[in-house]
Amino acid sequence: MSDDLVVVIDDDVSVRRALGNLLDSVGLTHLACAAPEDLSEADLAGRPACLVLDVRMPGCNGLDFHEAFAARHPEVPVIFITGHGDVPMSVRAMKAGAIEFLTKPFREQDLLDAIYAGLAQSRQRLAREAEHDDLRRRHASLSPRECEVMAMIVDEGLQSKQIAAKLGLSEITVKLCRGSLMKKLGAASPVDLGMMAERLKGA
């Protein structure tokens, strides 16, 4: 929780200050920027974060920035705030993946709710990513033979005996190999193994 970061990007100094006060009052760590350029990538690295972004800013369209940002940081949910929102603008923002579109002046509880939801989403996403990284690391530790066996199990659905015949090995060897790869990946059952393989493919 203490690692959470809320980034506010708004060109209006009093809005920045006020949102800073609000976040302070609920004990959330925050970073206020006057322009998107002021936000450094290092600030966002590996921690749950949520971005509160003003749509209209000088010399830069918040929506355009959001589209570029979302591509770089899919793990950071974006909440739009705007002084004068119209329907096409909010549609575009939501389509680009914003989790909330609030028109100023908004109820501060609405913003906080959106921020909490955003941070939760970001935490979940980071946890999933960490798990995924872990899985990839474990998969990388498999020997070439183990990889081969795993592919035969999940892709072709072959039994140990069939694999042994195909690879010209004894069934015992295949069973040992299979046990070792399941252990390395932390898979409890062939179904579990199948799901892991799916996740690895998805990445």
């Binding site: 209006d12 009093s14 006060n21 609000l22 009052s25 004068h84």
Partner: protein, 362 residues
């Protein structure tokens, strides 16, 4: 004699404007002297000479600087003098005298009636024009309304967020009263900011009669700039004012001059269709007044348009009614000033306004 006119509007300026010291005294003086000379001529010459008809000139002169009541009083005085001359004159044919006096009385009455009618018509025209100016002001504001709404919503959003923060700090254990106190200051500032924006808008749309006051032209221009600044910022247009130092105070209607400036700024921003837009306002002292120039690096206008752009119902905009610059010109001219347009090298347009200190045409 020089009471202000009863109606408000353009020509109200003609009376309310501080006429030059010479003009203020000269015309009434000439009028009184002329009335005296006509009285003397009418009285001293015999009945056949109808010198009293020249009182119509007195009435016409008086209509230049009098309100309606004063004008009727002048006409009445002329009628009285004519009748008085009739009794004081000794020579000539008595019957001719009666006829000549009657003709003179009728002529004076008719001219006074026409002068009053024309004054009333002018009054109505002035009111109509003032209303038209107000409508174009509102139209101009309507065009930048979204940006103004945005600008008001910023401090409102800040106030709501700050109030929420205060509530949490006060409910905390221990309450953070230090933060609350500082935040209440912020709230106050934001509320002041919001109300200043609203006051500026209300000022421009109010139905108040045009009123001249001694004003700093740079302040007046800054007020207009503040209204349109958010829109300029959003469009990435660099708007700046090079304010001349030690400019003389001008006797102007700030609302109307703001309208002119706002109109020129809206036009300039609409002429800019590229990313590096720039609009510069320069004020500087000039002989007998102040020069204001508004320059943009937009698409500019053709030579033909430069000649006709101030004509009513001339518009190059889709859906424009073409009254903006016509109204600008009538406002500036009512202030005794001039407005001109020139192409700017390599692109864009430069509008130049001259406003005199005295408020009358040089």
């Amino acid at each position: 004699m020089s009471s202000p006119r009863e109606h408000h509007g353009w020509r109200a300026y003609a009376a309310a404007r501080p006429l030059g010291q010479t003009a203020r005294w000269l015309l009434p003086l000439i009028t009184v002297l002329l009335a005296g000379a006509i009285f003397a001529a009418d009285t001293l010459t015999d009945y056949e000479i109808a010198a009293a008809t020249f009182y119509v000139v007195v009435v016409l002169l008086a209509s230049r600087f009098c309100g309606m009541r004063a004008l009727l009083a002048v006409a009445g005085a002329c009628l009285g003098l004519t009748i008085l001359s009739y009794f004081l004159t000794h020579d000539g044919n008595f019957h001719t005298g009666i006829i000549n006096t009657a003709i003179s009385l009728l002529a004076i009455g008719a001219v006074a009636w026409l002068a009053v009618r024309s004054d009333q018509a002018q009054g109505r025209a002035d009111i109509a024009q003032a209303q038209l100016a107000r409508v174009t002001r509102i139209t101009t504001l309507g065009g930048i309304g979204a940006a103004i709404a945005h600008e008001v919503n910023q401090p409102l959003a800040a106030i709501v967020a700050n109030a929420g923060a205060c509530r949490r700090w006060m409910g905390g254990d221990p309450p953070r009263l230090d933060r609350v106190a500082a935040t209440i200051d912020d709230i106050e500032q934001d509320a002041t900011r919001a109300s200043a924006i609203i006051a500026r808008v209300r000022n421009l749309i109010s139905n108040a009669a045009p009123r001249r006051q001694r004003s700093d032209i740079n302040d007046t221009i800054r007020q207009a700039m503040a209204l349109i600044a958010p829109q300029m910022r959003e469009r990435g247009i660099d708007l700046h004012l090079a304010a001349g130092a030690d400019l003389p105070a001008l006797s102007i209607d700030p609302v109307q001059i703001q309208q002119v400036v706002l109109n020129l700024l809206v036009n300039a921003s609409e002429a800019i269709d590229h990313a590096s837009g720039e609009i510069g306002i320069v004020t500087k002292g000039a002989r007998g007044g102040v020069m204001i120039s508004v320059e943009d690096n937009g698409s500019g206008l053709g030579a033909g348009t430069l000649l006709t752009m101030f004509e009513p119902f001339h518009s190059t905009k889709q859906g424009g009614i073409g009254m903006g610059l016509a109204i600008c010109r009538s406002i500036v001219e009512a202030h005794g000033g001039t407005i001109t347009a020139a192409a700017r090298a390599p692109n864009g347009l430069m509008m130049t306004i001259f406003l005199p200190v005295s408020g009358i045409q040089p």
